[in-house]
């Protein structure tokens, strides 16, 4: 019997705390698979955010630190200063990165810090009970926008990949989705590319995952994947926004 798909050693043998059908498990796995395949599990240092993935250090088989809400890029910057030879990444959700942590991520990207940020965008605050996030779509209902997001009152949803790509310090920015097996394969390629560019220490690398929150969206897990395809991807287009080669022609 030859294995054609086995679970990476990067995922610890524990059950995750995520709701059934939450795509956090998929993004955890592909980040760990990429580190595992590059033989870097022992050299990686991750920074966990505040949010549902606050406990991701209990699931990922790498050294990890916990940061204050939104401050993972600042913590990762410090780690890079004292560990110039390690693989360093932050794993942050949209409430963490795009709201309270906006300043940290922008300045880390602008400085061209040589770590990778994995940004989980599910357009809602998950852990705290489904409040509106900066990335919540227009008209999308949440506990703090019961009639749907009103852009006249709170503005339009923020496209973080485009924002990061406009900064000179960022060298690799890609947005991927986790709604189909094909998109999951593409997401893994993006993670591998970002980690490879990090190895060259060219600048800041950023991968955004369009993810789901079946519980707070009020959808079944399978319908939540359809929501990503029908609603999230049209507003947040997939693709590579910046590569080291394409730096000049970027946004």
């Amino acid at each position: 019997m030859k294995p054609i798909f086995t679970i990476t050693e990067g995922m610890l043998p524990v059950s995750t705390s995520y709701c059934p059908g939450c795509t956090h498990g998929i993004s955890h796995r592909i980040v760990m698979e990429c580190l595992d395949e590059a033989g870097k599990l022992g050299e990686a240092i991750g920074v966990a955010p505040i949010g549902c993935s606050v406990v991701s250090h209990q699931f990922m088989n790498v050294d990890m630190l916990e940061s204050a809400h939104g401050r993972a890029p600042a913590v990762a910057t410090g780690i890079r200063r004292v560990h110039p030879d390690k693989v360093i990444f932050t794993y942050q959700g949209d409430g963490d990165l795009a709201s309270i942590g906006m300043s940290e991520i922008i300045h880390a990207a602008n400085r061209g810090e040589t770590f990778t940020t994995f940004f989980i965008n599910n357009a809602i605050y998950g852990m705290t009970g489904g409040q509106m996030a900066p990335t919540t779509l227009v008209g999308q209902k949440s506990t703090t926008s019961p009639d749907g997001r009103d852009p006249g009152a709170v503005g339009m949803p923020m496209r973080m990949s485009e924002l990061i790509a406009s900064l000179d310090g960022a060298v690799y920015v890609e947005r991927v989705a986790l709604d189909t097996p094909a998109h999951v394969r593409q997401a893994k390629k993006a993670v591998a590319a970002a980690l490879e560019i990090q190895e060259k220490r060219l600048g800041f690398t950023f991968v955004e995952f369009l993810s789901t929150c079946p519980t707070n969206w009020g959808l079944t897990p399978a319908n939540a994947l359809k929501f990503v395809e029908e609603k999230l991807i049209p507003y947040y287009p997939l693709g590579v926004f910046k590569t080291p080669e394409r730096k000049e022609e970027a946004v």
């Binding site: 019997m1 030859k2 054609i4 086995t6 059950s15 079944t220 897990p221």
Partner: protein, 72 residues
């Protein structure tokens, strides 16, 4: 004999059905077994039809599915 074998790590299954939704041959279903976490868990209905595409394993958020093929 089926060409592919799915090994389910049932203690992790939360019955989310993402594998069921992604299987192109529609051979996965949520069964009557209740797993360690209290959810109804996944089961394969007809392994003869499995094409080893890995879609179920790629979409599984809980690292339940491992896939093996016969021979070397």
């Amino acid at each position: 004999m089926a060409k592919f074998t799915l090994q389910f790590r049932m203690e992790y299954c939360k019955g989310c059905e993402l594998c069921v939704a992604s299987c192109p041959k529609h051979i996965l279903a949520i069964g009557d077994e209740i797993g360690a976490k209290g959810y109804r868990t996944v089961t394969a209905t007809d392994m003869e039809l499995c094409i080893g595409c890995r879609s179920c394993a790629l979409m599984c958020p809980d690292n339940v599915i491992e896939i093996y093929t016969e021979g070397d």
